[in-house]
Symmetry: D2
Subunit: 472 residues, 4 copies
């Protein structure tokens, strides 16, 4: 269940880029594009634009803490004039550096100005930072992105083009990164050799786009062209897409949790439909953990598709058990621990008539701490459900993610120190079934993916220092 | 489809009241209660509280334009100290009187201070206002509520109690009203003799509640006691609920559109489950307008339950065709007419894999102007749907509502000047089926209801002057 | 010393009106007019405008807590379209009714809409309120102004014109009131029979103005025409000023403290220059309390002119002893009691070179609690002043004002319970001289004035109930 | 005349530092310190603090656009916990980089974190920036300060201490700089070898301070210790002040315009009283340009002291001719060109009784474009002044300042292309007298100063590139 009110998974970041070769302003495209990616980050956002072909024209940008619809008003958006630009939404971070860490990152360097937006997490940022610091570098943020910008600026000193500099810099990075960079006349996208985080290309007439997810293209009426490949650098200039490859090649390792939870149901990543993968997950759960029941329900929003899959496979009717209140905003006053109502109750309510006297199969995408699901099972039973059989469309969460997901530390992961039976008991479910690690391969047939948070198999390596654990 | 971004139905208002006989503060209950009623009004909101048993202690209140989570922060909420209070959420109104019109209405009168929140629309407000003006009354808002407050104050001059004054005043009102009033030591609820708008009573330990909808009780962990009856005045004092009846009795006429669209799926109104009535509506549509199809989908949120009903009756599988972006806030920049993206696209996206190559039955709650549904059908077809059969879980909208719903004027209602076939063609659907007026009686078996917006049968009379058309 | 940071005198309110007979918008005139009157009230402000000759056009208004430059931005100001309007600045009030109490007061009544701004304090408001309440009136604010509006509305029922209604209503009021009222086609000014609070008429081409102080006319380039006379009602319509008189006539009693402290130095009230009256006060002090000294200094801003007067009379050179920091705004964090710096120090600093080794005569307008002046004397001495001789350009403050000034209660007035010598000692001055009550007659020769706060001689009567003590 | 509403001189920046060796929080000292320096910069401000002796404790900072009392509320100020910190107020800058350019500058570098605040303008920033860029540096602001931070970080690689790094870096800088730097355990102040911009040391018990002006010490009750000398680096650590000198020594060149206009009247800079220098300037004017007149008046605030000096020397009485409205805030709506009122009128009004029928000597600190003074002369004459003799307490402004003052470009300086007589005529004064360049030496006897803006004698060299012209 995706929910800022409850203990859960931190989401990541989203990046977006646009280049109109007819010279029209793109800020409004970026606004709606970021809005479509808002689920990937709610702490801060920003847009940076430039007018190509007008030498000396400065980059314009605006970024701040808040949701896309809070940070930008009409006046601000209209003041961002330029036909080339990048945008970013950022997941919540701790500490007072919030505003400083917001992106896009806009820098002056040897060749002028560039803007950059980054999604992912480097595992060697601290080492790179130290190397840079020993040559006198100064850092004004807490982000990996600043390290990347530095490397690009340094590489640009002895490369022929900005795309070459992005490539050379990329070859020094370890971990996860999907980058969108705008120079005075180019829009560049880059994806790490594993392709942990998604990045794709879209187009509408003479306007080219880069986006974390394809769903953003639908929102603005653009066409999906293709994914940026792992280890690829795409340079959009003169109305063309030019492709380059990093020398560091790796076996692709798309984040499987994008399919299970992060991405929008209506996105396609690396050739696979997010929706289909969730339907499949539900189907597998139905086959592995059949149960006699009257109704299959999903926990909104991320559990709904898997519930449909379970229903289709099992033949047990699908139902809507919950009303979800979507008016919760950033300034919502969360109920205190000992208060009369819990965060779950405020946001979700059981539709009594749906569940009363019924044996329920309830599908959710994952269990992190276990608190939320315990509350939901309780609500179902108080509303009259006779039995609640919990099915989870991912394997048990046991390991931290080093590639851009903010997972709580091990001691907070219920699956680390508890057996399946202990978890079942603690959430008061009649039965409990998780997907198994081996099942993941069927979600996106043929996809080469990363499942480190379930398996501990870190294909991209582990972080060099503790400071390298983070995201975006 | 409930949507502030698109042309559609204006929603109404929501009222809430709380009285803790143990003397604890109730502002936080009212906050979460209003939050649960937020779908009934997004323009403004307010809370007023008083401390009973402390003579001379002033009423504290706060109200402003904005959503519940915008208007109240922790500091403001904590400053509202009192064990008796009322709250209000208000639907958007035109003109510069926005802030003045926000409620609760707090007045000093002959007997001290009272606070009042009102949902509904009077049909004789202009006449009452004129009568009051001819005796020198002044009005500081544009609301019917101010008229009601005046009448209560005047009646109080020659009645023995505040509840008697509320009763006498109520007997002079025509049209729709559900009132929640707090005097220094009583919480009073009143509902017009037709019972157009809902109002119900809840309880948790020694705390009593009044609410527009029962779902608010779930949110705060309270128990639903019963509905306030049409023409009833309930006085909550000394830990008891005292019932009085207005002398004007009428045949009950609960608003049927509350069941179809307004109310939360998880609410119960006048003994009927909103959810069940929607399932039933879907079932009737399936029987009346069967079609060979591959999938039944609902337009979120209000069309989903009826879609489940259609699916259950027809045996055609239910599917989730849409991703809904819920980050749209009050300050969202709406796409311009000629812009690259429509309001519908920004908020809803089709999940391509669900609909591609499929024959779709699409269920929505109502068609107002026809613009929104045309856009959605278009999106489905662009995503590859072979056929789209539209089913509407209400009869065609042909008449304005005078009892608290903000329906566009007749010339904007597509069903007024177009035949069914013309509507079908204009929205490019393969087939189109509406519920018939006569079907409404099956939604809530035994309920005596108002269907004036479909039938033109105004049980509560028509407004005396044009100014009397409005709401809340 | 005028200072929000320190214990002192509450200021009052300011009113302004404008009517352009050429039909141009007046909101910008009212904005600059209110800005010029900002010293009269800093809590809230508002502007209400109407377009004459356009029947049915609604009144537009905007009011809120804050300074003129905070409450109005360009967009809001431009949205206030109309060639007739009134404005108000309001002094700080206690309690949560702040925003409700802000003015202008805009009401619908039997004859349409009228807007009203009021400066003063009624002494019979509670009685009038009770009378109104016993006929069913409701009150939505804590202000006297609402009572006045009610009376006007009631009188309008049996008078031929709005100006007649204002006159009849005025004849029922006791205490202080300067009113500015706009009806759909008239701008009306009224001043109580004593003329406690100022009100004057200005003109610029075809635009007529009403203002609390003449200085506002200078700001907008208008010409001062004349004062509204005590007990006069002026009606500005059809390009003319029509004068009417209330039947209740009284001996004029202009507030002498306007000259001493409240009004701007550059204003003229009832034919007398505020500046000159302060110069005169300083001169009297010099004659009555001569002292051998090196320098005369004034406490900014209100003590400066009297210091110049003292210097001119005594021949002792005038000097600037203080630097005043004028960046203190509403949100300034005041130093805590036990903190390292006092409110006075933050706002005022002594220019050491001016006072070091000097015997100083320091002139201030009044002493209320005595705390501020004690701090200032201390600062002077720490900066090296050898002697500090305090001269006060008003008599000792001993009585509350019932006519629109917010004076602390008696127990907080240092002059009530202390002898002159005790006060001198407590503020550590070498000598102390106040103006005597009898001297006041020389400040504005020939003026008939009220000096109740010094003499206790309440020409306008005392308030009937305790609730009648207040202002605006 | 100091005025944001009118064409005039840009002010500069202000810096402040505090170190409490008893370990108490210093943020509130810095708040009041910056408030006392607010006249030096109104665009943005910031505070950065650290807790010494607590290893690993992060720096806390907050900075934003706005005045000190707008940017900081109680909650934010209290959240800045630390006993060592620096603060900055910044003068308005063009472009969208406003917020990015706000200070203190907080950087992570090889040795941890340091915070820095800077007042001044480098003349070789572009060259240094280019040098840094060619080794891969990236810049995130438009400020010289970022260049200085880079240099310090680089020097720190091969110096033994942070103060050594500051010294080495300082030796590479050309132009004007007064720096306040905090490392994890030291507070460092540095002033360029010319000492263009002021910087001084204060103390209160065990708390040490650095400040642009001594007046800030009075505000917080601290004692002035001494000025930081030109070319000196002071390191405050372990309760001591350690002094080091840069190897680059120059002849001192204190900015003379600080005395004439920038600094507060109550400050002492480099051993000279600002007040006294202004009195002297007024005296010189009286001797050089005597005139038969009735009254000497000063233009508030910066012209007042010189007017007192003129009065004392000439024997012509001093008077207060103007009422100044100090409620003008950042959001004040400035009158449009063609509007009914000018910016000057809104802010200043002539006190008619003071000037009517009088021959006036009016003293102001400087004439930039001539527009403001023309308006003021006009206002005096409209108020009845018979003659207006303008005396300017500085020589004619003819050259840009490269050391931290924002002077308009040459074509906007009225003295560049007009003779004295032409200026006199254009401002409609009966006579006009400027201080002569040679007179400046008498303002602060013995002081070695810079008068480049009057003489064109750039002791610190001219900027290498156009980009080097700027401030702070």
């Amino acid at each position: 269940m995706r929910d800022e009110l409850m203990s859960g998974l931190g989401e990541e970041c989203g990046v977006f880029g646009a280049f109109d070769f007819d010279g029209e302003d793109v800020s409004s495209y970026i606004y709606y594009g970021l809005f479509a990616l808002q689920h990937r980050g709610q702490e801060s956002c920003g847009i940076s634009v430039t007018r190509t072909f007008e030498k000396g024209k400065n980059v314009q940008f605006h970024k701040d803490l808040g949701l896309v619809n809070e940070v930008f008003d009409k006046k601000t958006l209209n003041s961002l004039e330029g036909n080339l630009g990048v945008g970013h939404v950022r997941y919540s971070t701790a500490g007072g550096w919030g505003r400083e860490n917001s992106q896009p990152f806009v820098i002056h360097y040897i060749k002028g100005i560039l803007s950059m937006a980054h999604n992912g997490n480097l595992t060697n940022a601290s080492v790179l930072k130290e190397e840079l610091a020993t040559t006198g570098a100064i850092f004004q943020t807490n982000t990996d992105s600043e390290v990347i910008a530095y490397l690009i600026a340094r590489e640009r000193l002895h490369t022929l083009s900005i795309e070459d500099a992005v490539r050379s810099a990329s070859e020094k990075l370890e971990g996860a990164f999907s980058l969108v960079v705008s120079s005075p006349s180019k829009l560049i996208g880059a994806r790490d050799p594993f392709g942990f985080r998604p990045l794709c290309i879209g187009r509408k007439d003479n306007i080219f786009f880069l986006s974390s997810e394809s769903a953003a293209f639908d929102t603005i009426g653009a066409e999906f062209i293709r994914d940026v490949e792992p280890g690829e650098i795409v340079t959009i200039m003169n109305g063309e897409i030019i492709s380059n490859k990093m020398r560091t090649t790796k076996k692709q390792a798309s984040c499987i949790f994008e399919y299970i939870y992060f991405a929008r149901t209506d996105s396609f990543i690396d050739g696979h439909s997010v929706y289909k993968s969730r339907i499949t997950a539900g189907g597998i759960l139905a086959k592995k953990y059949p149960v006699e029941a009257d109704l299959v329900v999903g926990v909104p929003e991320s559990g709904l598709a898997a519930a449909v899959g379970y229903s289709q496979e099992s033949g047990i009717p699908y139902g809507m058990a919950f009303y979800k209140n979507s008016y919760v905003g950033r300034t919502f006053i969360k109920p205190k621990q000992n208060e009369r109502t819990s965060g779950v109750q405020v946001k979700l309510n059981v539709i009594r008539d749906v569940v009363k006297g019924k044996r329920i199969v309830m599908v959710d995408d994952s269990i992190v701490r276990g608190t939320t699901i315990r509350n939901i099972v309780k609500m179902l039973k108080e509303a009259g459900a006779l039995e609640v059989h919990v099915r989870v469309s991912s394997p048990p969460f046991k390991f931290p993610c080093y590639y851009g997901t903010d997972v709580p530390s091990k001691e907070n992961l219920v699956a680390v120190n508890n057996t399946l039976e202990e978890i079942r008991e603690s959430i008061d479910a009649e039965s409990l079934g998780y997907l198994e690690i081996d099942d993941l391969k069927d979600l996106c047939p043929g996809l080469s993916y990363c499942d480190a948070c379930f398996s501990g198999n870190y294909k991209g390596g582990e972080p060099i220092k503790e400071e390298d654990i983070g995201c975006c």
